[in-house]
């Protein structure tokens, strides 16, 4: 099954071949976990959310509609993260709530975090998200545009700017 594309495998899953979900899980769960971990800086939370992403994959398998599988998967992951933080901070109703948490983390200079992670934490959520997805999870601009409801060109520009910001933050702390 390794030679089949994720989309074809997911199509088969949607048609009822549940065993193939294991293939998709093995292939992608570390990426999802790393994305969530880089975004939240919380291992337990990231595991729980990753778990939830794949539960949703099981549950909503029949709603998969031929799009890029990776985009779909990361969209679920992203929504999970948003839902988690909006639930936790009911007063804030935007993804920006993440920033507060991360800034707080940053101020305490979490020792477990690498220099790079600390630099990442100081970016705003949208920039951080783009860089993690693009640079760490190797999501292409087209898919990134799909996930963030944007166009590939705009995404490319935003990634490039975010990289510059990150670079500056990272270098000034070295």
């Amino acid at each position: 099954m390794e030679h089949l594309s994720d989309e074809i495998i997911m199509q088969k899953v949607a048609e009822g071949n549940l065993d193939l979900l294991k293939v998709l899980f093995d292939k992608h769960h570390e990426h999802i976990y790393n994305f969530l971990y880089k975004m939240s800086g919380d291992q337990m939370l990231s595991e729980d959310l990753t778990q939830d992403v794949f539960y949703k994959l099981i549950k909503y398998r029949s709603s998969y509609k031929n799009g890029s599988f990776v985009s779909w998967l990361f969209t679920i992951a992203r929504n999970n993260l948003n839902t988690h933080f909006t639930r936790k901070h009911k007063n804030h109703d935007d993804i920006d709530v993440l920033e507060y948490k991360q800034i707080a983390n940053d101020e305490s200079k979490h020792e477990d975090y690498s220099q790079l992670q600390n630099a990442l934490n100081r970016l705003n959520v949208k920039d951080r998200e783009l860089i993690i997805l693009n640079r760490f999870q190797e999501i292409k601009y087209e898919e990134l545009a799909e996930i963030t409801n944007s166009t590939p060109g705009a995404v490319k520009t935003r990634v490039s700017r975010a990289l510059k910001k990150l670079k500056d933050i990272y270098l000034e702390n070295i």
Binding site: F25, T50, Y55
Partner: protein, 263 residues
């Protein structure tokens, strides 16, 4: 020179995904622009750090829990899949059966209701008739005991209401025929009884009445009735009447005509 900065191309340049033309452009620009060269070097450091960034590995708990959830889903799915298949197979037939059953039930209950209704009303009617007959009988019997002759006649004439009068009525009528002091009442009682002349009780009452009756018109009526039913036992009282002196001659005449017919 500023306008030609290639900052936006640098990430792709480092990723080596630029086309030849852009790649050459970056190379040339960087060799002459210190700013962009610096930018490129810094970006290189950042990219290196990113590469070196350790990949976080989730615990085994994650995949164990996923597999458990997947197994559970498979179990539930197989159940869910099995059910609709069974359903679809029997859907049409079972629906038709349901419809048929409800129609049958409707008809059955309708018929049952009708039969029960008819039975009940039959019963009711029977009871009512029975009751009204009983009332009439009581009325008849009590009227016949009345002092007024006309009331007694009225009571006697109630016999028309009874297609099959019971013993009590017949006895009461016979009693009137034999014992009533009023001729008209006796005549009426006779006429009433004449309808049931074939009954042995009535026959006996006629014969007895013939012995004691004094009214000639009633005598003749009784004689004629007895002849009609061929009551042989009536011969004796008839002969007796013939011998009696106070018997009217036309009655005797009647008896003489009647006797040969019954013997």
């Amino acid at each position: 020179m500023e306008k030609n900065h290639v900052t936006h191309l640098l990430p792709d340049y480092l990723d080596n995904v630029l086309n030849e033309k852009d790649k050459e452009l970056v190379k040339q620009h960087v060799s002459s622009c210190i700013q962009c060269k610096l930018e490129l070097d810094e970006l290189k450091i950042l990219f290196k750090a990113m590469e070196d960034e350790p990949v976080a590995v989730p615990s085994d708990r994650l995949s164990a829990q996923f597999e458990a959830a997947l197994d559970k889903e498979k179990l539930e799915t197989s159940k869910v899949v099995a059910l609709p298949v069974v359903k679809q197979k029997s859907n049409w037939a079972s629906n038709m059966l349901k419809v048929a059953a409800s129609v049958a039930l409707l008809i059955a209950s309708f018929q049952m209701g009708r039969v029960l209704q008819v039975q009940k009303s039959d019963n009711d009617m029977a009871t009512l008739l029975d009751e009204s007959l009983k009332i009439k009988q009581t009325a008849m019997l009590s009227l016949m005991e009345n002092q007024s002759a006309s009331k007694r006649i009225q009571g006697v004439s109630y016999i028309e209401e009874f297609p099959n009068p019971d013993e009590a009525i017949v006895n009461a009528l016979a009693n009137r025929l034999l014992n009533d002091e009023n001729d008209n009442v006796r005549l009426n009682a006779f006429e009433a009884l004449a309808t049931f002349a074939t009954s042995p009780t009535v026959k006996q009452a006629f014969i007895k009445a013939l012995e004691i009756e004094k009214n000639p018109s009633i005598q003749i009526a009784i004689i004629q009735s007895l002849v009609k039913i061929q009551a042989k036992k009536a011969a004796v009282p008839m002969k007796k009447l013939l011998e009696q002196e106070d018997t009217q001659p036309f009655v005797k005449n009647e008896i003489e005509l009647a006797l040969p017919k019954i013997i």
